[in-house]
Subunit: 342 residues, 4 copies
């Protein structure tokens, strides 16, 4: 089958033929229809320090996808060929304290598809049946982006949203999803911040009450909409050090600050002033809650109050992965997807 492969320990990805994966006893084999391209894929292509430390090429890349089941293993009773599905790309051990107590998203033995084992930028992928979610009417181009949407749901819905003033710092695709989720989830107001006007336009399309470039008008908007208190919930989705400081500063006393963006360097924090005296709760967001987050997504998509479609700005066939990565690198793209099968 055709796949996008990291062939060796050097920059670049190649499109080439690889063997079709086998369907294990507890697996389902899925013909991929759509796949989402992520910043992580760019890191892998560019072979940055993180990628060098983690990947063992050759590996088929890609971890966001949806498609059709074409085969089920002999132990699988829940699924049958012909069903349209997506899947959680974190394959967890299922036995550790975290897995056994509702925190599988921080399982220390997680394997990520497209990183630690072959992934989804391919005509077929085999997945453990426990990781698979039926789409039940959600189209595959939306199903293909439920992984990053799930990061946004995890970030937003582990805070108390109804009635809250929510500040979202960073309007990449996950930030834009977060805007839509907070809006549909009953926020009193959603203030979105990014340096890039194209991204702010997307945030606005997703329902942001205000979409602003960094600067004094952000603080003014937060204070105006919160009657001078500050934001009840801050979602830091950028990873930029100044944004992190803004997140702490614009949070009201007693607020919740959700950290999803990954700073690339250490950040100097004045814990007393920025966190302790304000009585903040700071939560590190990784992955999706398995599988509360997935059920929440299905519910929001079905309610019709949340539509992620405006965030999808680019579509390419599998062969044009380099253009897809370039679109991400430009910083102007929303979500970029690959059209692989039908």
């Amino acid at each position: 089958m055709k796949a996008i492969v990291k062939p060796g320990r050097a920059p670049g990805l190649v499109v080439r033929d690889v063997p079709k994966p086998k369907c294990g006893g507890a697996d389902v084999l899925i013909r991929v229809r759509h796949a989402g391209v992520c910043g992580t894929d760019l890191h892998i292509a560019e072979w940055d320090a993180w990628a060098q430390g983690r990947l063992k090429p050759p590996v088929v890349v890609g971890h966001e996808f949806a498609g059709e089941i074409v085969e089920v293993g002999p132990l699988v009773t829940e699924f049958k060929p012909g069903e349209l599905v997506t899947a959680e790309g974190h394959i967890i051990c299922g036995h550790c304290l975290q897995c056994r107590t509702g925190n599988g998203h921080v399982c220390q033995r997680t394997q990520i598809i497209g990183v630690d084992r072959d992934g989804a930028f391919a005509e077929f992928i085999a997945m453990p049946a426990t990781n698979v979610m039926r789409l039940d009417g959600i189209p595959t181009h939306i199903g293909a982006i439920m992984d990053p949407m799930g990061n946004a749901f995890h970030t937003v819905l582990t805070a108390q949203i109804p009635g809250s003033v929510v500040l979202i710092v960073g309007c990449g695709p996950i930030g834009c999803f977060a805007v839509g989720i907070a809006t549909a989830g009953g926020a009193r107001a959603v203030i979105a911040v990014d340096v890039n006007p194209k991204r702010l336009a997307l945030a606005k399309a997703m329902g942001a009450t205000r979409a602003l470039q960094p600067g004094p008008e952000v603080e003014a908007a937060v204070l105006e909409l919160s009657e001078g208190n500050g934001a009840d919930v801050v979602c830091e989705m950028s990873g930029a050090a100044p944004a992190l400081h803004s997140a702490f500063r614009l949070a009201r006393a007693g607020a919740r600050v959700q950290l999803l963006g990954l700073p690339s360097t250490k950040v100097e924090v004045d814990f007393a002033t920025e966190i302790i005296f304000k009585g903040l709760t700071v939560y590190g967001v990784i992955g999706r809650k398995m599988y509360e987050t997935w059920h929440q997504m299905q519910r929001f998509l079905r309610s019709g109050r949340f539509d992620p479609a405006p965030v999808i700005t680019h579509r390419f066939p599998l062969e044009r992965i380099d253009e897809a990565l370039a679109a991400i690198k430009s910083g102007d793209a929303g979500k970029v997807i690959l059209e692989i099968g039908t």
Copy 2:
């Protein structure tokens, strides 16, 4: 001043002149503009068993209102004359375990205005400043109904709403508010049930996904919208015994059932089947959380996503209290308000 008074231990209310209340040291004196009429006022007028056991006439009735501050006591620093305000009608002790740990709504020494002490169906009322909330742009006819709206907010927002299928049983004014709150709060679907088509029309106007009379189509709707699971949250706002059994039955395993409606008789419950085997959490709702609920209301009203105005179906001047009570008694009314001052 003019007031609606329960003059003695017998049915009926009278409109008559009573002395204007004095403004105590920690009080504010409020000129009432609008007041809400409640089922409780009807119980008092009709002098039912509950009223006979609780009231010590003569007493000025009425506990839902908004108006303008005209005087502040010498210890009051937070308010000044001219401000438009509403107030929590439960005056709590402030010292007991409940009051001191965020559960003042179940303070065992609560005094309710219009029940245990003079109330709001009058040209003026004196209130402890701690019970007063500034309207800050909310009109007084809306401010006047924040007390029963608060019951609805307390009922709905102490459950997990974003993404939930919410069943609301009973579409009196509080039930209709609940429909609007659950909708604005991110419910996946809101199913409203009442015997009265006029009330169902109000529920629909407030955003109900479905508005149905009791019968098999209720269960069908719940199952359809919840993919066969049952309701995630049930709000029982009717107090009818059959409705209570429906509430338990249509709740999914692991659901939350909020009980606001007061059954007038004992109800036979099969605890094993109805509650325990399903792992339900059942919560008795009384009053409003002081003052989380009030802040939530302000936020929802300000966001523009929740508008209670459609629920107000009748307005009368103070003198026509009997017509106001008759409208409530008919069962067709939404919220009935008195226009007292300007």
Copy 3:
């Protein structure tokens, strides 16, 4: 192998030889050392209405046990022969909303060993590896009663225990475990109630601050130890209708009432007075949280602050199951265990 079997649709159990179970691909085969006898086993033996409606004889009974792994299926990587283990006896579907969102204990497709499929009163049992917990030093006679202990942990630790006045109504084995858990969990005081003085002696041995027969001294003790407020947490473990009313009455306003005991008949409840006006939260407890409860148990047992051993009052070999059931029926027993293998 030797097993205790419900042979047909009539009262009685028999000890007889049955085929040794096969170890499926994802199963482990366990040689049973100790098993706990439960009231449920008595219902099955006596063939009551519940048993008649649920069981499909012939079936090997018994659902509480611990033993040694003697074989593992080819898909099992977490366990190996020789390990001492116990197991959760509820085999859940793993795919439904409840299973996927941390509420597998109310999975609507649960199969219980010893009820819906062959159980643990036998020399060997095959269990899905996902249901198995390593004992890691906990002796098998204690491991064998972790299932009912788990009910007690679920009941007690889903309430807020540190600093709370806890009332435990019903001092059968699960009630006695609950006394020990609440004590070790930091309760300010634990008041245990039962009609049977032998059970009260067990409750006292497990650390009850007071152990009392029903009567006015229960209320007096609750009020004394709670400074007149009532119990912060009530655990109803008896299923008796009068106990249920006491549970509601002795709970303080705003309290949490945990219902584990199964009333055998309907109970008339005055919802307004007993639950709603008091702002109670009532929680139906079924099974054990999978697998938070099991991890909590291991932690409490390892800390040395909780020792369930005093609750074990009787031990019999497998052949003397009738005596074991008679001990339970007498109402005087704590936990009764079978010694099956070594």
Copy 4:
């Protein structure tokens, strides 16, 4: 009356006669029996940068105390002369969002006694009645240290303690209280860390499972007692930068990290590795929850399972405040108290 006063904008404290405070309308006047000396008092005496920025001398210092009510203002109905009491030293506005929603401990208009207004190192102090708590049998030398004990209760009991492995970094008086609270609250194990052997001996006396100096044995102990997972709850009570990094590192994935210690400088944090990838929740602890924390303290003290007495290592009369401060400065003291009246 005699009082310890910060007389002007320079280092040092003086003991001198000042006017006895007046009892306002909503106040009680308290004759102080015992007072606790705190690191904050040392900062004030030494006139450090924080003190220079905050205090407006002259001011009577001291914020931890207990004593006897000798006069009540005309609006006070809850207290009467002769009652023994302690008090929350944070006087909050009562009207802001935080005060009105259960987060008065982060009220942005807080006034602290002994810092922003006259304090408790004096023969008498006037306090708003709402800040006063009856001792009801707790002796005044214990009542005098409920303020810092409250910091420890707030830190420990806002985490989930029953069954948890708790790491407490920093064994000053508040850290030692935290050890005792976690132990009484049902922790599976409590590991206490400090550089000072005298403090470790106090931690051991308060019930620490292990009391260790920083070094590899801390990690070894955490891993041993948590079966290799890491600490479920970390309480950082030292404010030292290396301790903060240890707190994050030794917390298990999904853990809760409570920050009470105030770092005196900025700390460089690798948010991705230390917080986000581990899915940590980090909570900034300030003051005491008003008044949940106070009720919890009363309950723990009354249960007999928590006794803070071993932490009190020094007692001085008011005149010897310099010796009291020297004891604190030495780093060897537990809690230091002043004996003022009887």
